[in-house]
């Protein structure tokens, strides 16, 4: 396909996502009715620079996992462009996509279900290395052992099976599997949420070390703002399938503009009994993405909602350099 290759002027960005949309049809048969969709991801755009980490934050059901999976084309794209290293992944034919796979990897949330239970560790890590001929055959074994060593796994784990390991070690295996393919870009889909606190710190450090050593670009998807703050360079905040605020880490944490971002930040529990946060407690629950509110999607829970919020959906607009917000509180022109 010719138009799979897009001329990418800005070579700094490893990934550019433009107007990404992912709709799931609700029912297959609908007679006489308009077909309804779940708009899991609705018009999301962002770009990630080489060697940096972007954090994607949001609550459950906001579509952050779907964004990650759609970028990797684990789900088909409804509309929009995903330009990875100058190629539009949304339009690339499956056969070519399979050859591109090693360049972009994913680390999954659940270390218990993301490892094939009947394969030994060496095989889990090395299977795709063999298939894509990442290293010559003669070096294969030592290469896998080196990757395992990098990820803090001991060589004799090579022949063991996943059920013999704890959650933290499994997550290391999962990371090793991704890293072994020499990727450029890694999506981390809540890699810490199933782990114990003391193990989380180990995994964070491991990910940081690997990034320093090999220059990976991360898209870090999480609901834990403190981890995102620690790891990311830029941050995107999602609510109900749309990006509501985006910017440098400093901009988001020091000067949050969107009311939702403000509420999220104030909701982080502080590990100090004497600090009493001036907490913004949001009312109500996240609306269902099947039937999102009209206009601004956040208006049902927003303390500052006005009439215009119900009528017009706010556009994502840049206010400082790189700091974009979608809210009617700020001028929309």
């Amino acid at each position: 396909m010719e138009n799979a290759y897009v001329n990418n002027n800005n070579n700094d960005d490893i990934l550019i996502v433009r107007n990404l949309k992912k709709y799931y049809p609700l029912s297959k048969i609908s007679i006489g009715k308009k077909r309804s969709y779940v708009k899991a991801v609705d018009d999301v755009s962002f770009s990630i620079k080489r060697g940096t980490t972007m954090g994607l934050v949001g609550e459950s059901g906001c579509g952050k996992t779907t964004v990650g999976r759609t970028i990797l084309r684990l789900h088909d794209v409804t509309d929009g462009q995903v330009i990875f290293d100058g190629m539009d992944l949304a339009k690339i034919p499956p056969r070519k996509l399979r050859r591109l796979r090693p360049q972009m990897q994913m680390i999954f949330q659940d270390p218990y279900s993301s490892l094939s239970p009947r394969l030994p560790i060496g095989e889990i890590i090395g299977e795709a290395v063999k298939e894509h001929k990442i290293v010559p055959r003669s070096e294969y074994r030592s290469y896998i052992l080196k990757v395992m060593h990098d990820c803090g796994l001991q060589p004799h784990y090579y022949y063991r099976y996943p059920h013999e390991f704890s959650g933290g070690q499994r997550q290391r295996i999962s990371i090793a599997r991704a890293v072994a393919l020499k990727p450029k870009f890694i999506i981390c889909d809540e890699p810490l949420s199933a782990l114990d606190v003391s193990i989380q710190a180990q995994i964070i450090n491991l990910m940081k070390d690997l990034q320093e050593q090999y220059g990976y670009t991360y898209l870090f998807i999480s609901h834990d703002l403190s981890v995102v703050e620690y790891l990311s360079d830029t941050i995107g905040v999602m609510y109900l399938g749309s990006m509501v605020e985006m910017g440098e880490k400093k901009q988001i944490f020091d000067n949050p503009m969107h009311p939702y971002t403000k509420a999220l930040l104030s909701a982080i529990p502080v590990s100090d009994p004497d600090v009493k946060m001036n907490r913004i407690i949001l009312k109500g629950d996240i609306p269902s993405p099947v039937n999102p509110p009209s206009g601004c999607k956040f208006r049902t829970r927003c303390p500052y909602a006005t009439k215009v919020c119900a009528e017009v959906a706010p556009k994502l607009k840049e206010y400082e350099s790189g700091h974009k917000v979608a809210c009617h509180l700020y001028s929309q022109d």
Binding site: N205, L225, S226, I281, I286
Partner: protein, 405 residues
């Protein structure tokens, strides 16, 4: 190839020396464990199945009448196929009237088993309270020894006097009954002269109390029609419907989103003040503890390693594990490039050797740490920690400790 071959060589050498690292039990060991387990379990079950236990046997006195619950040297073991798991191994702490006691620890540290022991809900026959006592004081000042209490008597305490909120609001409600039916049932079960009409009124009142805007509608809903946050509210309403003296909240916000977590925590605090009850809050999140708790108990591998008031624990932590836990939580203020992390893995409390359980993950371990389990060291009336480094009233550096020995 080098690494693996080397590994084989070493394995061989070790095999010759008789060092055994195999992680699987042999058939013989397994048989021995099963036989022993069966013997022990039978003994405990016989004790439990006695009928007509006289009341004097399980009546007792509290150490301090201001406490609702006192745990004293509680041991709860699980006799599993791979050996005895000492889930709770000598736990002592109190839950005072009207206070929130936070129990922190990582998975497998025994925090949930402690609360289940209190409810007599430890999964029998593998799980048994082996020794120690749990004293509970009811509204009328009567004290019960829960470890000796017969099952039928416990039914009256459970749910009515002590209520529990679970982590997963999805699975703790029965999907085939309406919310209202499930709530009414609790009231009808525990209040002797309750009529269905009274129960309904009480349920609606409770739904109102937990901040549900339209109680009538929720009353007639099925659990799947509610969101996670709503379900957790319903669970709290249900727990409150018999105005319990103690609410055990086992990771009540772990499955919820941040903004919903803030709502639920606010609600719990509010509700506690309204009914003047106590809360035993079990969580792994230090932030939640800092916000909610009055007293904190830090558990590790089935033992309490540090306890004190929130301020003592957060401002002046003594045990290296507590310190490590706090330092390993990332935040924007962490300026170092690397986050502090505790090395190694969370232990599974099977066949623990007689040394400090944290010894091999500890940065500051000294020789004695490998030799005996440390005693609890008191710093103030409320604050104590189990660490050899703390024996002279505070953390010392390793050198001076060595000199003293």
């Amino acid at each position: 190839m080098g690494l693996l071959d080397k590994w084989r060589q070493i394995k061989q050498a070790e095999a010759e020396q008789g060092i055994d690292h195999t992680m699987y039990l042999t058939l013989k060991e397994e048989r021995r464990i099963s036989r022993e387990n069966n013997r022990i379990i039978r003994q405990f079950e016989r004790e439990k199945n006695r009928k007509n236990v006289p009341e004097e046997e399980y009546l007792t006195k509290m150490r301090d009448p201001n406490n609702v619950v006192e745990f004293e040297n509680l041991h709860t073991y699980f006799f599993t196929d791979v050996g005895t798991v000492k889930s709770v191994n000598g736990v002592t702490f109190d839950i005072p009237q009207g206070k929130v006691v936070g129990v922190v620890g990582e998975s497998g540290c025994g925090k949930s088993v402690t609360s289940l022991s209190l409810m007599q809900l430890v999964q029998a026959p593998q799980g048994q309270i082996v020794s120690g006592s749990i004293r509970y004081q009811d509204r009328n000042g009567k004290c019960y020894e829960i470890t000796k209490m017969p099952r039928d008597k416990m039914l009256k305490v459970r749910g009515k006097e002590i209520a529990m909120i679970f982590q997963e609001p999805m699975t703790s409600l029965n999907p085939v009954f309406k919310i209202g039916e499930q709530m009414d049932e609790v009231v009808l079960l525990h209040e002797e002269d309750a009529t269905p009409k009274m129960a309904r009124e009480r349920s609606l009142e409770m739904l109102n109390l937990v901040g549900i805007a339209d109680p009538q509608k929720v009353y007639n809903n099925y659990p799947h029609e509610l969101s996670g946050g709503m379900r957790q509210r319903v669970m709290i309403a249900m727990a409150l419907s018999c105005t319990p003296r103690l609410i055990i909240a086992d990771e009540p916000t772990t499955a919820l989103d941040v903004t919903i977590q803030a709502q639920i925590l606010e609600l719990l605090r509010d509700v506690k003040n309204k009914i003047n009850g106590s809360i035993m809050l079990i969580t792994h999140d230090l932030g939640v503890i800092a916000e909610m708790a009055d007293y904190v108990v830090v558990m590790y591998a089935g033992r309490i390693i540090e306890k004190g008031t929130v301020r003592e624990i957060f401002h002046n932590p003594k045990h290296p594990y507590t310190i490590g836990l706090m330092r390993s939580k990332p935040s924007g203020k962490t300026k170092d490039n690397r986050l502090y992390s505790i090395k190694g893995q969370v232990p599974n409390p099977i066949n623990m050797p007689n040394h400090c359980y944290f010894f091999n993950r500890c940065d500051r371990a000294i020789e004695i740490c490998a030799e005996e389990y440390p005693e609890m060291v008191q710093f103030t009336d409320t604050h104590s920690a189990a660490c050899h480094l703390c024996r002279n009233g505070g953390l010392m550096d390793t050198n001076s400790t060595k000199e003293q020995r």
